[in-house]
Amino acid sequence: MGQIELKGVTKQFGDVEVIPPLDLQINEGEFVVFVGPSGCGKSTLLRLIAGLEDTSGGKIFIDGKDATDLRPAQRRLAMVFQSYALYPHMSVRKNIAFPLKMAKLSQAEIDKKVEGAAKVLNLSSYLDRRPGQLSGGQRQRVAIGRAIVREPAAFLFDEPLSNLDAALRVNMRLEISELHNSLKTTMIYVTHDQVEAMTMADQIVVLQAGRIEQVGSPLDLYRHPRNRFVAGFIGSPKMNFIGGAEAAKHSAHEIGVRPEHIKAGQSGEWQGRVTVSEHLGSDTYLHVQTDHGLINVRADGEIGLHHGDTVWLTPDPACIHKFDANGMTI
């Protein structure tokens, strides 16, 4: 259970077409991440799947059945909101129990499931608190708890970790991944965090202005971006793009090289001057001004180059991406 298919789904707000006709197939048990720049329609797409927005056209199938006109509750999907959307006047226990209560389960059954979910999520000692008395991470767990007790066909997450601090985010990321491994339920996850997308996803869907630019596994997108947009969007720091004569040498309109595929040394192809070097300990990010523009390089932590130093850069020839005039990969 938990296969979702969109066929020609569109969405308009007034005259503005936010999602042009879009097809997408999400297989059972997959962890699918939607990424894209702000305002590209990730949340809208998620809300369309959830049933919180009506489609302007097209059909949505859940487990092979047409769900386009079903109410949210009938789609058997659970959603975790960015703001958590916990019910502030209810205790944690009541929050988690709410969907079960709405499903008219017996009290004994409700108690059993709530205890179970609380145990999985380490919430047992907070069950009688109100959401206002919890930390951000705990609230997030309550929101997830409320989603898992329903045993939904799929989970929908809309930037669930963006309100948490960096350390907690890493923790919760692992917890959600573990949850997915143990539940094996389909999950759709919206984020604009590179690391979350790369580490958690089975499939990444890259969106731009409501259009799907590419769908694929994280490494697939990293190694074989279909076009310039995906190449620039996936990977951090961003890919370097070089046009002009240098690109013509590779018989392309533009070439792209990732910062980690450039070697900095005493000799090489491109000469440049270091403008900024960011020492992270494990790595050093060099910003090098060359004849071909500013190029970012990810070098060794011990490289010892500083502002004003002269370096030569050599791209790894096996890792040069070539693009034509329309920005498509050659």
């Binding site: 949210p72 509750a73 703001s83 006047h89 709410f98």
Partner: protein, 290 residues
């Protein structure tokens, strides 16, 4: 205010206002208490001897006292029931997206700007009048005998009038509370399988509890002292059927020129109002915490 120094400074800063307010309250209260122990009738010149609790004895043994107390409570509870329930329903209605929303909202608030005397007169002469009133006309058109509201059901009529005045206030406060409800909470509830009715009772109503508490507290304070509407419409009658405590104090002190007795009645009203306030705070005040 986190530190001791800032708390002390804070107290110092607000003390002029607090002292002024305290004097504002304590001087009239003190004088009323003092007068209530005097035999002080404007029709009997001469000195005003101290008579202890004589005035209170007169007030409590007045045959109108218990009916007036009863009427006061009925009035307050009746108006509260109509305005909070009606206010919630109206707020739900006004929260729906509709054509001409701004104008409709202004119209709903309008009754609150009408003076109590005026609105009572309008109701008395244009709606409830058994000969010329709108209700009488409707009744006759439908073939019924007109109902003489103010003499047949005086207290109920006054409750209607006062509720009409306070409904906008309740609606307005409850509407703003409703609009402050996070829409994601409603969406989450929808995904959790809650229908419209469940969403109302489990999500909206608890969210409105605090605003409703404010509405009830503020209204109670004003409703305990309803006066103009009674004076204009029924004069407390027929008999004592629509006399509340405020009106009783008025009729005793001003109609009989007995300042001492009136003061005693005033003090009794203050004490009763405080008892009601304490009850209210106990019952619903916990809604205001955190």
């Amino acid at each position: 205010m986190a530190t001791q120094a800032s708390r002390a400074a804070g107290r110092l800063m607000i003390s002029p206002a607090v002292i002024l307010l305290f004097l504002w309250m304590i001087v009239p209260l003190g004088m009323t208490i003092w007068f209530s122990f005097l035999r002080y009738n404007l029709l009997i010149p001469g000195d005003n001897p101290f008579v202890g609790i004589e005035n209170y004895q007169y007030f409590f043994t007045d045959p109108n006292f218990w009916p007036a107390l009863w009427n006061t409570l009925t009035l307050v509870l009746g108006v509260l029931a109509i305005t909070t329930i009606g206010g919630i329903l109206l707020a739900l209605l006004l929260d729906q997206p509709m054509f001409g929303q701004g104008i409709v909202r202004v119209l709903v608030i309008a009754p609150f700007f009408v003076m109590p005397t005026v609105s009572a007169l309008v109701w008395k002469n244009m709606f409830m009048n058994p000969v010329n009133g709108l209700f009488a006309w409707i009744a006759r058109t439908l073939g019924f005998a007109p109902f003489d509201f103010l003499s047949a059901a005086p207290l109920f009529s006054i409750i209607l009038i006062v509720a009409w005045q306070w409904l906008p206030f309740a609606t307005l406060i409850l509407l703003t509370a409703l609009q402050s409800l996070d829409s994601e909470q409603l969406e989450a509830a929808e995904m959790d399988g809650a229908g419209a009715v469940s969403r109302f009772f489990y999500i909206m109503l608890p969210h409105l509890a605090r605003a409703a508490t404010v509405v009830i507290l503020i209204q109670t304070i004003f409703l305990l002292s309803v006066f103009a509407e009674i004076l204009v419409t029924t004069n407390g009658g027929p008999g004592n059927a629509s006399t509340n405590l405020t009106y009783l104090v008025y009729s005793q002190s001003l109609l009989q020129y007995d300042v001492g007795l009136g003061s005693a009645g005033g003090i009794v009203a203050v004490i009763l109002a405080n008892i009601v306030a304490i009850f209210l705070m106990r019952m619903i005040g916990k809604n205001l915490e955190t």
